[in-house]
């Protein structure tokens, strides 16, 4: 056979410029799997990225957001050191609780201001506006300090404290909005470390600058840092997703806080988070008091400043190291619960130690640990908990927690201190610390379950519920009925037909008169629909009107429909007319008359109908098809022998009619025969439907049939679907056996079946599931690793196979966990929404146990190939065994064998060439190989002689063409002509417009073309959503390109006009 076109893309595609030549095509997969390019240069290009778990393209984002948060935190350290050094040196220790209370009140006021501002300004604008405002305010504070007014130190302390509290909320909210859930988990520790570095730099700056320019001038440095932070926020703004902002919101802070309280109350996870926050804040206040009171008693003013400088440097140095090296790994290894509980647990141990051995360094150790674990683990954990929530909801809750609850807790803890501090020593306060920390531990231990539920809700909440079945009748009210009446009077045929159809379903009795009038309508279809609708609105009372119509009607289609309607309402008075119509020349009218007589004509009617049935059986194929239809509608079991005889009819059309009839007459004798049709290429689908409709009887018949057969893979797939629709314990072993099939499609159907079984409470053996899960994961990883940078059919097919493999894995996970939640997670992963995908991945990450999680997420996440390979090696043991295992698995797969071996010989080689050719056209480029293969097999070569018209202008277009040889000239009525050559499409763009429009195509010197039928492509779109997506992608590509060209022409003509 002649090769149509060269396909260098295929032979050279995978291996590209490398020296590997494919000698043994049958073993192509093995070569791919053992190719040395598995470890690429790009994979180990950056050890730094690998160490920090930063993916390609994320560094810029980290740089901008990191600089922003680093500057904000650095400023906080500068201002806190200024505040502590100034305030503690001026006031005694027993003033501290009062300072805490006033500070908390100011924080609440500032939060209320923030709440009203954040409603009007998007987060990205707030992120630069607040540091800018704070910068100016800090300079004003410096001026106030210079006036030496009484109370100015107290005021400045409170102001800076409140504003800094606010800046932290704004800054972290802004940073969090710049990343999705998965990124938050990976990168938040790194961002925390950068914030820690900012804090260290802040501390170092204070130590150097305080001696040089004086403590009070630290505020000027602080203002410069804030101005730089505002600049970073401006640069980071475009990287943050736009959040909808209500510009006309009249909500006050208290209304927002009320909404926040409502959200917290309704959400168990947020209740727990709030509880943990209360515990954490109480601990912080108590520890802070212990620390500062101890400092006051231990040091004079100069020693204290020196000690604080050293303390901050060490504390933030430790925090920096912790964030950089430990936090992410700790969270990955021990999970969310441990991250949230560890701070309280360590503080509890230290508090007990302090009670047993009271010492200055014990207090310092508690303070140091509290700060370190709070910022590294506890706050990172909290950020993760908030990630699945919609941004606005999360912000409202944070606002309530930080703006109201936190100040209240600070005030309450301070009141406790005012009460206890005169009577209890600083060391004894550790009892209170211990109590608050213990509550925090208990709450943290309960978090994970609710976090998982929230992630699942976040994924499910975005999905459209298609299970909802509309009951149109429930939608009926006065307004909708008047709307329907108006449509009936509209005079438009299509509108009337649709409205009558709706009325038939709803039974709106008040529309009876309008419907009766339409029985006289000039269009037969309207009269038929009106007859149906009349039965819907009037029931038995419609008999008289319909009989009258029967007498007057001449159109056989309407007569048949009216007879059917009269049969529906069991109108006895129609029997006379039915006797007369039994001899009607139209088969449809005769069938309806026969059915009516059989049901309503008593014994005489049955005898006459039976005679007529015998006549039909002896008739031609049309009569036999009518007979099958009548038996199906009669549903009398005694007629199953007749159906059985008809099932052996040589005509496939008659067989199809019989199978359709068997759906409503599923006798065991017929079902046994129906199983045979599962092997039929044309009738297997309908046979499957019959067996499914028969329920348990269908399963029993199928079990009997399969017992004595060696069924094909296609038959097993049909059988698996039948079993899945009616789960029975006796069919479980067969479905489990199919799980071990070498054919992927069979395993896939078996999995779906087993999941139906699980939903019905029939459990499969866990060891089988585990073995299969492992096998599917290995195959999935092998496909992922086999992807090459070159584009080729094989590469695309491998990607599709990977998607299928992922789907299978999700199905197996559905056997192990809640199938609905796994379904939602799967839909979230493939849905195309990056935030939804991140939430779905995070859900699976938390749901799966460690070994499964590392393999599966390696398949799904866009992680470097090297990590993928490591996962595969870990999964498979040693390298050598692993690769052998991969080869064995891939070699067993039928699809890959078809692709790499059978496809490259004889007739299929031509199909592959055609498929390759089709992929050069935009509308077929993204189609799966299976669809391309199908389409290629239905294309035909067509030769045009010189001067032949390929298609005329303004004609209905039934086919498009790809030129294999020669040239074709396409002309439009405007006079433009285009000469197209080999490999180019002719009339492909207009294929779906169903009209050649203003263009015609003719052949000037003879051409050989590949003809692609519109019906074939539309059938593909009809059957496969993936094919529809591919065609739409191609059309969109053409549409966008044409739009750009058109725009250019318009601009030129505008420019020309202007000149």
């Amino acid at each position: 056979m002649r090769t149509i076109i060269e396909t260098p893309g295929f032979d050279g595609g995978i291996f590209g410029p490398s020296e590997v030549k494919v000698k043994d095509r049958g073993n192509l997969v093995a070569i791919i799997l053992s190719a040395p390019r598995l470890v690429t240069d790009s994979a180990d290009r950056s050890h730094v990225s690998g160490f920090f778990q930063v993916r390609p393209g994320e560094w810029r984002r980290i740089g901008v957001f990191g600089s922003y948060i680093g500057l904000v935190v650095g400023n906080i350290i500068v201002q806190y050191t200024f505040n502590d050094a100034t305030f503690v040196s001026f006031y005694p220790a027993d003033h501290l609780p009062y300072l805490f209370i006033v500070s908390s009140l100011v924080t609440a006021v500032m939060s209320s201001l923030y709440g009203s501002v954040s409603e009007r300004l998007p987060a990205r604008r707030l992120s630069w506006a607040m540091p800018a405002l704070f910068c100016v305010s800090t300079l004003l504070c410096r001026l106030l300090l210079a006036t030496h007014l009484p109370g100015s130190i107290f005021f400045i302390y409170i102001f800076l404290f409140g504003f800094n509290g606010l800046m932290v909320i704004i800054a972290w909210n802004f940073v969090r909005n710049g990343f999705d859930t998965r990124q938050v988990k990976r990168l938040m520790p790194l961002l925390g470390a950068i914030a820690g570095a900012g804090a260290i730099l802040g501390g170092v700056t204070v130590r150097i600058a305080a001696g040089l320019i004086g403590t009070e001038n630290l505020l000027i440095i602080s203002a410069i840092v804030l101005a730089a932070a505002a600049g970073c926020a401006l640069a980071a703004g475009p990287l943050v997703a736009v959040q909808p902002v209500s510009s006309k919101s009249e909500e006050t802070f208290w209304k927002q806080a009320g909404a926040g309280f409502g959200l917290i109350r309704r959400n168990r996870l947020m209740l727990l988070t709030t509880g943990m926050l209360i515990s954490a804040v109480a601990v912080r206040v108590l520890v802070d008091y212990q620390f500062k009171a101890t400092l006051k008693s231990e040091f004079n003013r100069v020693e204290m400043a020196s000690f604080l400088g050293n303390y901050f440097a060490i504390a933030f140095g430790l925090e920096f190291i912790f964030q950089l090296f430990l936090t992410a790994r700790f969270m990955k290894r021990f999970g969310l619960t441990s991250a949230l509980a560890s701070r309280a647990a360590v503080i509890s141990i230290l508090a007990v130690t302090l009670l047993v051995v009271p010492a200055f360094w014990g207090v310092v150790a508690i303070k140091l640990t509290e700060g370190l674990l709070d910022r590294s683990l506890f706050q990172s954990g909290l950020s993760l908990v908030f990630a699945p929530l919609p941004a606005r909801r999360g912000n409202l809750i944070r606002l309530t927690q930080e703006g109201i609850i936190q100040p209240l807790v600070v005030a309450a803890a301070s009141l406790l201190l005012i009460f206890f501090s005169p009577v209890v020593s600083v060391t004894r306060l550790s009892w209170l610390v211990l109590g608050a920390a213990a509550v925090g531990i208990l709450l943290a231990l309960r978090t994970n379950r609710h976090y998982l539920a929230e992630l699942s809700r976040a994924v499910q909440g975005h999905l459209f519920d298609y299970s909802q079945d509309f009951k149109i009748g429930q939608l009926m009210n006065e307004k909708t009925i008047s709307c329907l009446a108006a449509q009936l009077r509209s005079g438009e045929r299509d509108e009337i037909l649709f409205t009558l159809h709706l009325i038939d379903e709803t039974g709106a009795a008040s529309l009876r008169t309008e419907v009766e009038l339409l029985l006289e309508h000039g269009e037969a279809q309207v009269r038929m629909a009106a007859a149906d609708a009349l039965v819907g609105v009037a029931g038995k009372e419609a008999g008289r009107t319909l009989r009258a119509r029967l007498e007057e009607e001449e159109d056989p289609r309407v007569i048949a429909r009216v007879l059917r309607c009269l049969g529906r309402i069991e109108d006895d008075a129609t029997v006379e007319a039915a006797y007369r119509l039994l001899e009607h020349g139209d088969v449809e009218v005769m069938s309806e008359a026969l059915l009516l007589l059989f049901r309503l004509g008593g014994l005489d009617g049955i005898i006459v109908s039976a005679e007529k049935l015998a006549t039909l059986k002896a008739g031609g194929p049309r009569e036999r098809m009518a007979l099958a239809g009548i038996i199906g509608r009669l549903k009398v079991e005694n007629f199953d022998r007749t159906l059985l005889d008809l099932l052996r009819d040589p005509s496939p059309e008659v067989q199809r009619s019989v199978l359709e009839a068997a759906r409503s007459l599923p006798s065991p004798r017929i079902l046994a025969e129906v199983c045979r049709f599962l092997e039929s290429e044309r009738l297997s689908d309908i046979a499957e439907e019959v067996l499914i409709a028969a329920g348990a009887d269908g399963v029993a018949s199928l079990m009997g049939y399969l017992g004595g057969q060696q069924p094909s893979a296609e038959t097993i797939c049909h059988a698996a679907r039948v079993f899945g629709n009616t789960p029975r314990a006796e069919s479980l072993p067969l479905a489990e056996e199919w799980l071990e099939s070498d054919v992927g499609a069979v395993r896939y159907e078996a999995l779906k079946t087993l999941r139906s079984f699980r939903r019905a409470g029939i459990e499969t053996a866990p060891e089988r599931r585990d073995a299969l899960l492992r096998r599917e994961m290995i195959l999935g990883l092998s496909l992922k690793l086999a992807l090459s940078p070159e584009d080729s059919l094989l590469r695309r097919e491998l990607k599709i196979r990977l998607d299928l493999c992922t789907e299978r894995i999700l199905l197996i996970l559905g056997l192990r966990h809640d199938p609905d939640r796994i379904d939602s997670a799967g839909a979230g992963i493939t849905g195309g929404d990056p935030h939804l995908r991140a939430n779905a991945l995070e859900y699976l990450d938390n749901l799966l146990n460690a070994p499964l999680e590392s393999f599966f997420l390696a398949l799904l996440e866009d992680i470097p190939e090297k990590e993928c390979l490591e996962s595969a090696r870990e999964c498979l043991g040693t390298d050598k065994t692993g690769l052998n295992d991969l080869r064995t698995l891939a070699a067993k797969d039928r699809w890959l064998s078809l692709l790499v071996a059978d496809a490259l010989s004889g007739q299929e080689r031509i199909l592959l060439d055609r498929a390759t050719l089709l992929t050069r056209l935009a509308i077929f480029r993204d189609m799966s190989l299976a669809c391309l293969w199908h389409l290629a097999s239905r294309c035909r070569e067509r030769r045009f002689a010189a001067g032949d018209l390929v298609f005329p202008a303004g004609a209905a277009q039934e086919a498009g063409y790809v030129i294999l040889d020669g040239t074709v000239i396409v002309e439009s009525v405007t006079g433009a002509a285009e000469r197209l050559g080999r490999g180019e499409g002719v009339g492909i763009d207009t294929l779906f417009a169903c009209d050649t429009g203003d263009r015609s195509a003719r052949c000037d010197a003879g051409a050989l073309c590949l003809e692609i039928g519109r019906r074939e492509v539309e059938e593909m779109i009809w059957r496969h959503a993936s094919a529809a997506r591919a065609v739409v992608n191609g059309l969109l590509e053409n549409f966008i390109a044409a739009s750009k060209r058109e725009l250019l022409l318009r601009k030129r003509s505008l420019d020309g006009g202007a000149r």
């Binding site: 909708t480 439009s972 405007t974 006079g975 779906f992 959503a1025 529809a1028 059309l1035």
Partner: protein, 148 residues
Amino acid sequence: MNIIEKLFFLRKAPLLAGLDEHNLLRVADIAVDMTFKTGETLFRQGDPGGSLYIILDGNVAIEIDGVEVNVLGNGQFFGEVTVLADLPRTAGAVARSEVYALSIERAAFLRLFESNRGLRLNVVREMGRRVCEISRREREMTAARRPA
């Protein structure tokens, strides 16, 4: 606008032609009716995509780089590029008269596209018509610019 009224409008839209009443009701349920005043911007070029719009009444001008490239009327739809291809808006849309439209959110439309064969075919046919229409306009403009 109640769901039945939306249903009658939607079934006239070529995009949803041939869908049965149950599927149309699903679309009617997720579609949100919106009104735009003359001159009001529905969306700008470069905006992140979100919804597909079906015009019930009125005219909408489609603009690229500030140049009006098309005016759409009753029953026609727009915003499909961003919904189907997940791209930012490739064109802006401005109401040329008072416009009454139904908007369908991207995720819901895609799920409908995946599950409904008739809709898939309608989308392909409509897109095919648009490609032909835009190519025809391009040829006419080229011919008009050609010296006689």
